[in-house]
């Protein structure tokens, strides 16, 4: 969504740049806003800066210049003690799942609720329900190492959405799953989006983008949004 939109924004990037250490900027002059409740695909070639941009979105990285507003708050220079409440409003699905290997599927999914202060009794019902939703009700006590790639992916998604985040960020969520699972994931994201969650998915999968009517696209190349107008289209002409 371009900067001129009147819809309330969940994220606003204003001249944002990012560099790691003393290296060259991996993200340059990012200016865009994401509407609350929108569905966005982040595309671009490998090394374009997609993962770095997602890290800025889920507050794992600070910009080296520019400003980022999330949930209406300026967070670029917020003290680190102020960030946890905002992180609890964001769900993240990592490309490598990032499940804690010594915890069961149940405990991995329950983690965001427990961090938010829920008791064991409060956790039990929602986590069982979520595991059933992703088709893993019978694998609740399994450790990640004993789950297939697709099952781990679903545990990671269940963990990302268990506390009904306002913003769901997914990095190549279909990179490790077959076409059928990719399709099911897309349905899951669409369903969440209908419930009001803003979705941002980084992907190379054009099929996924085409299968999501109404979604918008941000294309990154060499660390910049390539559309010179800053507008995000669905999908841009080059991908039709």
């Amino acid at each position: 969504m371009g900067k001129g939109s009147k819809l309330p924004a969940i994220a606003e990037f204003d001249s944002v740049g990012l560099r790691y250490g003393t290296g060259a900027e991996v993200l340059r002059d990012l200016d865009f806003r994401l509407a609350d409740g929108g569905f966005y695909f982040l595309t671009g070639p490998s090394g374009a800066g997609k993962t770095s941009l997602l890290k800025l979105l889920y507050l794992a990285q600070r910009p080296t210049r520019g400003r980022i507003r999330l949930f209406g708050e300026e967070l670029s220079e917020a003290a680190r003690e102020e960030l946890p409440p905002f992180r609890r409003r964001i769900g993240v699905v990592f490309q490598d799942f990032r499940l804690i290997r010594h915890l069961s599927a149940f405990d991995n999914v329950a983690l965001p609720l427990r961090v938010a202060g829920a008791t064991d009794e409060e956790v039990e019902g929602p986590v069982r329900e979520m595991l059933a939703w992703v088709g893993l009700a019978d694998r609740a006590s399994a450790r990640p190492a004993t789950l297939s790639g697709g099952e781990q992916q679903r545990v990671a998604i269940a963990r990302a959405v268990i506390n009904r985040p306002q913003l769901l960020v997914a990095d190549e969520p279909t990179g490790n799953v077959d076409a059928d699972m990719a399709n099911r994931l897309l349905h899951l994201f669409t369903a969440l989006n209908r419930l009001g969650t803003t979705i941002v998915v980084a992907t190379h999968d054009i099929g996924l983008i085409r299968a999501t009517p109404g979604a918008q696209m941000i294309r990154l190349e060499n660390g910049s949004v390539v559309d010179p107008t800053g507008l995000l289209r669905n999908p841009p002409p080059g991908h039709r």
């Binding site: 680190r80 003690e81 804690i100 983690l111 961090v115």
Partner: protein
């Protein structure tokens, strides 16, 4: 609740995965606790012994008359009636010769051996020695009066030096234990870096992460320090039953209840120190992350 972090749910305990008491931390703390216990007990016993000795001889004097055995009874009588004197103990010729026999052998019985007269006496605190000295010298002009505290002073100084050395060693060992805890905390942070990142990612605060490590190290430190302290106490008991000096250590005069209480509190103090150090180390390390 300030100590709420101590009571983790099973789910919280599972977050760090590895079982307790597996790493080296409890063992290192146990060794430190053992050493601290022995050194502290020795230091306290020395302090008490030095205190008791100093108190006992504070107002004790000796009258020595070279070759003056014939004046012994007269001297004792004069001292008993002197103002401020509370106790008099005349050392008989027989006792003097028996004492000398340890060094001189049978020669100590020789009539040619000049045996001095020795009378020990105690005075009230602050008593004036001048009238006492006048009475003594009226009977034996060559008599010399010396304070026991002057003779024992070098020994007391040595004992107090050792006592301070023990105190310093306790501090040093506590510092070493704290350093070991810092290393253990950093090692644990490295081991669980991934878990910490995931926890931060889902919105955990530094304090929530810190409590996990603080609890683990507190339990390791408690187990280690109690085990070390129990081992130290057993060694002290063995020494007490097998050696006379250790017997003194265990005597009521050497280790009064307050000192025993100090020794009992040592492992808990070490645990509190380790827990606090772990908390500071983890919080400092987390501040370096986002």
């Amino acid at each position: 609740m300030m100590l709420g972090w101590l009571f983790a749910s099973p789910a919280e305990r599972r977050l760090l995965g590895t079982s307790r008491f597996r790493g080296p931390t409890p063992w290192v703390i146990a060794i430190m606790s053992f050493s601290i216990m022995i050194i502290a007990a020795t230091g306290l016993a020395l302090a008490n012994t030095a205190g008791a000795l100093g108190e006992a001889i504070e107002a004790r004097y000796a009258v020595v008359v070279p070759n003056g055995a014939q004046n012994l009874d007269a001297l004792a009588q004069a001292l008993k009636s002197a103002p401020g004197v509370t106790a008099v103990e005349a050392v008989t010729q027989g006792e003097m010769r028996r004492t000398l026999q340890r060094w001189l052998g049978p020669a100590a019985e020789s009539a040619d051996l000049p045996v001095p007269a020795l009378v020990n006496f105690d005075t009230r605190h602050g008593a004036d020695l001048r009238p006492i000295r006048q009475r003594v010298q009226a009977i034996a002009p060559a008599a010399q009066i010396s304070a026991h505290r002057d003779r024992v002073a070098p020994l007391l100084r040595s004992m107090r030096s050792v006592q301070w050395l023990a105190f310093g060693l306790v501090l040093l060992l506590s510092g070493a234990a704290a350093a070991a805890v810092v290393l253990a905390a950093r090692g644990a942070l490295d081991t669980h870096r991934f878990t910490i990142e995931v926890m931060h990612g889902v919105g955990a605060t530094d304090l929530q992460v810190t409590h996990l490590f603080q609890r683990k190290i507190a339990l390791d430190a408690l187990v280690g320090s109690l085990a070390g302290a129990v081992a130290g106490a057993l060694v002290l008991l063995l020494l007490a039953s097998g050696a006379s000096f250790a017997g003194e250590l265990m005597g009521g005069a050497s280790l009064p209840p307050i000192d025993l209480l100090v020794l009992v509190l040592l492992p808990f103090t070490l645990t509190i120190l380790a827990t606090w150090v772990a908390r500071m180390a983890v919080l400092a390390a987390l501040r370096g992350t986002l």
